[in-house]
Symmetry: C2
Subunit: 334 residues, 2 copies
């Protein structure tokens, strides 16, 4: 009962007199080194959450949007969804004897990934449609859930969900603690992210936005199902990102986080709004702990964006300098 | 200080010992007559919110979807968005001298609405595209906001936002108080609803789903804008509703509310999920206080849906019997 009474008083105190002093001194971003990047985040959050200030933003309008590949998790040696698709081709091959002499599948099944992707986006689309369509949404969800639970990254041998960036997990949580709604706005497939995004990122399915293929409603044996069709519905990259934000969120974000030129329009759209705005690029500078690439990369290129970030004073995270750890498992080892 | 201390104790008490007893006896649905409909709602909410029960649903999964036209607000003499479009044709006519001898605009400008809509959907689409596209999203938002603030319904002479159903406003709030997320899933245009849905329904822009036209990202004089194109993006009716729910919410609702056959697939999709599910049809039975129509209506027809509701035991609200008041202003007069 003593403990209960203490709780009553403590909670009452917090409710009446505001947050306890410790809330402000606890470091919500422990994996970020002190520096300009970390400071800019904390200052922005303080600015928009200060009641009575002219820059105060009501919680309903505190929308933060995050790219996924290269911003929340790694994207090397290639987008993880593409690695998933390659694995699926192998798994589905016994049901598709015709793939043995049909490109891009034939090369892929011989282990020649480079040859399979030789025709670029055309090959990618064929592989994606063959592996992502033709089943119900529930079946696809099960396939993704199985894969994400068992597959391992070809270089690190970690599960893919362990290749998320610890400092960004802290940032997502920190923003939500401060009343933000955190959305993913990814070039990747919505249905590839939703099965695990809530558990890994704390982002609920309705706050996951991405590329999609068309689905069709059907009643099969009196049971309604949604069937995935081999037809692109929306490609959520570059100019598509502000469009998707508009169509699905309907409110301009006040903060945007990306890592490539594919995120540039999202950052432009976000920062062009009235009042305080925040834009951040994750710059891949750490060849040792992760990968280093920017202006000349074929996937996740950051070139125009880097120039614009400098011109407009957006925050650029130097992964090597700004992040104490990259992946969650490093933190556990500390 | 005495008051403060009292508050401290009261809040502490609530936090430690749960909600005060009064919370369960206060009637959250005062505009609903006691009866099967009201009882079924309360029982469903009690079922899914009872911690420890096998039917308990975590708050993140408490998704409720509502049709708009005829479910949350009236839809007679025609969909309000169509009345908006007709008003816009008149307002834009001076900029379009060619409309004087081009159908459907010519008839419309002569006051012959029936003649203008003679070709059905074809005429509607032409009127909608001419009035809803060709401007930026910000410009369209301003147009809708102006109209909704000033226009009056041709029969009741009420502002359209006063023709929302008071019992449904109470239901939306009641569900949210119980941890539900309330989404609108309407055949109407998303951008026609978002400017006022938060104020009127308490539904934030990202929880408004509906039909849409395509938009395009452009940079004009260094300022990024989204331009509305005269091309359908998505028609959110019938089979489209479960598709939109899947694409935008990504989680099957546990409760669905509609009033027409256009909502049937949404109710089917919702109730086909595992665990407790709830479906409700608003049946327009009150010719005196509102309008009475169902199986033979040309807009908002409820025919197949009424049969299926009976067969599956879904709740059917008899507006005349179940609702004490229809519109908010009646409540104020009580």
């Amino acid at each position: 009962m003593k403990r209960t009474l203490f709780t009553v008083f403590t909670l009452g105190f917090i409710l009446v007199f505001g947050r306890p002093a410790t809330a402000q001194t606890v470091d919500s971003l422990p994996s970020w080194n002190d520096g300009k990047a970390k400071q800019s985040i904390i200052e922005f959050v303080a600015t928009v959450t200060e009641e009575g200030s002219p820059d105060f933003v009501p919680p309903a309008e505190r929308i933060a949007v995050f790219d996924n590949d290269g911003t929340l998790w790694a994207e090397r040696p290639m987008y993880f969804q593409l690695l998933f698709a390659l694995d699926r081709v192998k798994a589905l091959a016994p049901q598709h004897p015709e793939w043995e002499d049909t490109e891009p599948f034939a090369s892929l099944l011989k282990g020649d990934v480079k040859g399979a992707l030789a025709e670029g986006m055309k090959s990618v689309v064929e592989i994606v449609m063959a592996t992502h369509a033709g089943m119900t949404t529930a079946e696809f969800e099960a396939v993704v859930s199985d894969w994400i639970a068992t597959a391992r990254h070809p270089v690190t041998e970690l599960p893919y969900t362990e290749m998320v960036y610890q400092p960004m997990l802290e940032l997502l949580a920190y923003l939500r603690e401060n009343g933000f709604k955190t959305f993913i706005v990814s070039g990747g497939g919505i249905e590839f992210m939703r099965p695990w995004a809530e558990k890994v990122y704390g982002v609920t399915p309705e706050q996951v936005i991405g590329s999609s293929i068309k689905v069709k409603f059907e009643v099969r044996d009196s049971t309604p199902v949604l069937v995935r069709l081999p037809e692109l519905d929306f490609y959520d990259d570059k100019e598509g990102k502000p469009v998707a934000i508009h169509q699905q969120i309907g409110r301009r974000p006040i903060a945007a986080f990306g890592n490539s030129d594919g995120d540039l329009q999202m950052l432009q759209w976000t920062t062009a709004g009235q009042g305080p705005r925040y834009a951040l690029y994750v710059h891949h500078t750490d060849a040792e702990r992760e990968w280093a690439y920017d202006r000349k990369a074929s996937m996740g290129r950051l070139d125009t964006g880097l120039d614009e970030a400098e011109a407009k004073g957006w925050t650029v995270v130097d992964m090597k300098q700004d992040w104490k750890v990259i992946y969650p498992h490093e933190k556990k080892q500390q």
